[in-house]
């Protein structure tokens, strides 16, 4: 009897679990059915539409919720459509995995966020991005921002939210104390380093524990060379013709200079420790972008720091700020509610509402309509950009960026020579070409 009841209990448990799954499925199916039937409804009554969004920025949930509520109200007033939005905000770590699974299983969200430079090429190739070139928002984008969301065949496929303009960070207080200004050539940089050393200030904070930090020198060096000496470098590499040996001096001259004059134990210092060291004034400069501003200010709210372009050679025209975009919104071509999805994207760059939204999120201006006052370090970078001292982030495959991070770590630790690193990079780009042909 006892055994019997146990067996019953077990099967009951299994049954309820399965039933639970079943219910969930049928529920979501109903939801879909509801939204499609809503689309077909006659024009007299209010249409109802469910819009699915996928934006991996949970830290901004409140801002998005508020903005979406405004959008829903506007859509109801303008077009008499009842929009209900399902906003999904996974953490950034596993977001791209979830999104890929969704896309691969034909369950694409109507609007989703991707990384502009890293993800647009492969997503566009797989056919997961709608062409947005003729949307009104595309005309409002700043010229410095637009290229990063444009595909190689000239289509705008995403709306950039977060954009970056970066070089290296420098401690303005230390620089003014010693009467220094950000150098424009490598020779000037050496002079700055000598002066700082003479005054017993460590010139650079080094933080190479995470491989993406030494990696930063690559986009800067390649960007400068692409703008000056080797305009076809990326195209050649994509055709298996170029080699990183052309970039060797641009990468290693400045990297060696930084390493020789940096803080100790670099391979044990991560990004956050580096930010703390920089905030505490343990070094005058740090090879890092302004995306660490919040962390730096958290450990020293009074720190006065700026962004400057990193010199890679003695050509002052090759000393450039790097422009790129990260989080961007895209629309799925399979979306059943494309019209409403496009309305939302245009609303993100709405003439009235957008300004406050971007300011609240602390993003940089991306469109001509953004007129709010931004942070001093962003103004620094913008000043360089206005002088024409900027370059679009070169389209280096992520695999190569990962490889260079590892390579430069090993180079710093003395395990690889410059030629080994160059060889590894060439190989990584070749295998990228092979995989993505």
């Amino acid at each position: 009897m006892k055994r019997m009841s146990k067996g019953l209990l077990c099967s009951l448990l299994a049954a309820t679990l399965l039933a639970g799954c079943g219910n969930g499925n049928s529920g979501s199916n109903n939801g879909n059915a509801g939204s499609t039937s809503g689309n077909d409804g006659s024009s007299g009554t209010a249409k109802s539409v469910t819009l699915k969004m996928f934006i991996a920025q949970p830290r901004f949930k409140e801002h998005y919720d508020k903005y979406i509520a405004d959008f829903v109200a506007k859509e109801k007033a303008d077009k008499n459509i009842d929009v209900s939005v399902q906003l999904e905000m996974p953490t950034a770590d596993n977001a791209s995995q979830i999104l890929k699974t969704r896309l691969a299983s034909n369950d694409a969200p109507d609007i989703f966020a991707i990384h502009a430079v890293n993800e647009i090429p492969s997503y566009y190739k797989a056919g997961y991005l709608e062409d947005l070139s003729d949307q009104p928002f595309a005309g409002k984008l700043l010229d410095s921002v637009k290229p990063s969301v444009t595909t190689t065949d000239g289509k705008v496929v995403a709306l950039p939210l977060e954009t970056l303009s970066w070089g290296y960070l420098y401690n303005k207080t230390i620089f003014t104390e010693h009467g220094l200004t950000p150098p424009t050539t490598l020779t000037e940089m050496k002079a700055v380093v000598e002066k700082l050393k003479a005054a017993n200030v460590t010139p650079f904070v080094l933080s190479y524990k995470e491989s993406w930090i030494p990696q930063l020198v690559l986009p800067l060096a390649v960007g400068s060379m692409v703008k000056t000496k080797n305009p076809d470098f990326v195209a050649q590499m994509n055709k298996d013709e170029g080699s990183f040996s052309e970039m060797k001096s641009a990468i290693f001259d400045v990297f060696d200079l930084i390493n020789e004059n940096g803080t100790a134990k670099a391979t044990e210092v991560g990004g956050d420790d580096g930010a703390a060291a920089f905030a505490a004034g343990k070094g005058a400069m740090w090879l890092q972008g302004p995306w660490y501003a919040e962390t730096i200010l958290k450990s020293n709210p009074d720190l006065d720091f700026g962004v400057a372009p990193l010199p890679v050679s003695d050509d002052p025209n090759a000393t450039l700020i790097n422009l790129s975009a990260s989080t961007s919104l895209a629309v799925s071509p399979t979306s059943k509610n494309k019209e409403v999805a496009l309305d939302f994207l245009n609303y993100v760059l709405d003439d009235q509402a957008s300004n406050a939204f971007f300011q609240a999120l602390k993003f940089n201006p991306v469109a001509t309509i953004h007129t709010y006052e931004s942070y001093p370090w962003i103004n620094d970078a913008t000043a360089y950009v206005k002088e024409g001292k900027s370059v679009q982030d070169p389209a280096i495959p992520q695999a190569v960026k990962d490889e260079v991070g590892k390579g430069l770590q090993a180079y710093y630790a003395g395990q690889l020579s410059q030629d080994d690193v160059v060889k590894a990079l060439d190989k990584a780009w070749k295998s990228y070409n092979k995989v993505n042909k």
Partner: protein, 294 residues
């Protein structure tokens, strides 16, 4: 009779089915799926992919020095771990077993690191290696403590071993303790009367009697050491460069960061699976033969 056996099978299925269902759903089917993808060039995103036969396997073993290096590094780690983890665990178990009064206390103390998740203990030790030890060196005369514990490729291997041992020895110790308690007192007394020294007793009486525990512990450490990930990830991240990259990390990197070559990464996982399978079979086969019954 047939009715009864039918009933037995039915009850067996009723009990096993729920567990087996979940096992199949979340382990068996994905495993088979992974093996399937190891013959393709799928990139994890594109709905179209093609079969390339054994191409992935050949590339992994022939043209991928990073993979082979990570494999060798893992083998070195496995060797150190299997020997040291079992050695320390057995020594601790024997010492604790001989302390009648404080047995419970020491058992708890040594088992405790095992209750902390591996990744957390790795982060804790990162702090110890990069902050605490240099501070100690500064305050005392132990100058040798002030060095790159996790940033120097020569030293970081041993740092990884230290943390793995700290974390893993306790669990093996518990198994050995249980086995030691199962050794009949009469045999030990007989050996004592025959004039055996404690060392002789241990070697000729205790050790043969606990071989079954040795088999289990070797099996667990061998398996675990091959699949090591969190300790290395938390301590060095495989760096500097790839000098401490273990095989699981190489697979992870291939699938989720480099070129998103899921197919290729699956092939590497299959290779790892086969290696573990072979090693385990040999180990179990050899050690089973040595086990004795009381």
């Amino acid at each position: 009779m047939p009715v009864k056996s039918y009933k037995r099978i039915a009850s067996l299925i009723a009990f096993v089915a729920p567990a087996f269902l979940f096992y199949a759903l979340f382990l068996l089917i994905p495993t088979l799926g992974g093996m399937f993808y190891s013959f393709t060039d799928w990139n994890g995103l594109n709905p179209n992919y093609s079969f390339i036969g054994l191409g992935n396997f050949i590339e992994a073993l022939r043209e991928d020095p990073d993979f082979v290096n990570s494999l060798l590094f893992t083998l070195k780690y496995v060797l150190f771990m299997v020997v040291l983890q079992n050695g320390f665990a057995l020594i601790l178990a024997v010492f604790i077993e001989s302390k009648v009064r404080t047995k419970g206390f020491f058992r708890t103390i040594f088992f405790m690191p095992n209750m902390i998740s591996t990744i957390i203990s790795a982060f804790m030790w990162t702090f110890v290696f990069s902050q605490v030890l240099p501070q100690i060196a500064e305050k005392t005369a132990f100058k040798f403590l002030d060095q790159l514990w996790i940033g120097d490729p020569q030293v970081s291997f041993f740092s990884i071993i230290i943390v793995s041992l700290w974390n893993g020895v306790g669990y093996m110790m518990i198994i050995y303790l249980a086995a030691l308690q199962g050794v009949p007192q009469s045999l030990k007394e007989a050996a004592l009367i025959d004039g055996a020294t404690p060392l002789q007793t241990f070697r000729s009486v205790t050790l043969p009697m606990i071989t079954h525990a040795v088999t289990i512990c070797f099996f667990l450490t061998l398996n675990g050491a091959f699949k090591v990930f969190e300790v290395v990830y938390g301590l060095t991240g495989g760096g500097p460069g790839r000098s401490t990259q273990v095989i699981t990390m190489n697979i992870y990197e291939e699938a989720f960061s480099n070129n998103f070559r899921y197919g290729y990464a699956s092939a590497k996982s299959v290779i790892l699976f086969v290696i573990i399978l072979i090693f385990t079979f040999i180990q179990i086969g050899v050690m089973k033969r040595k086990e004795v019954e009381a």
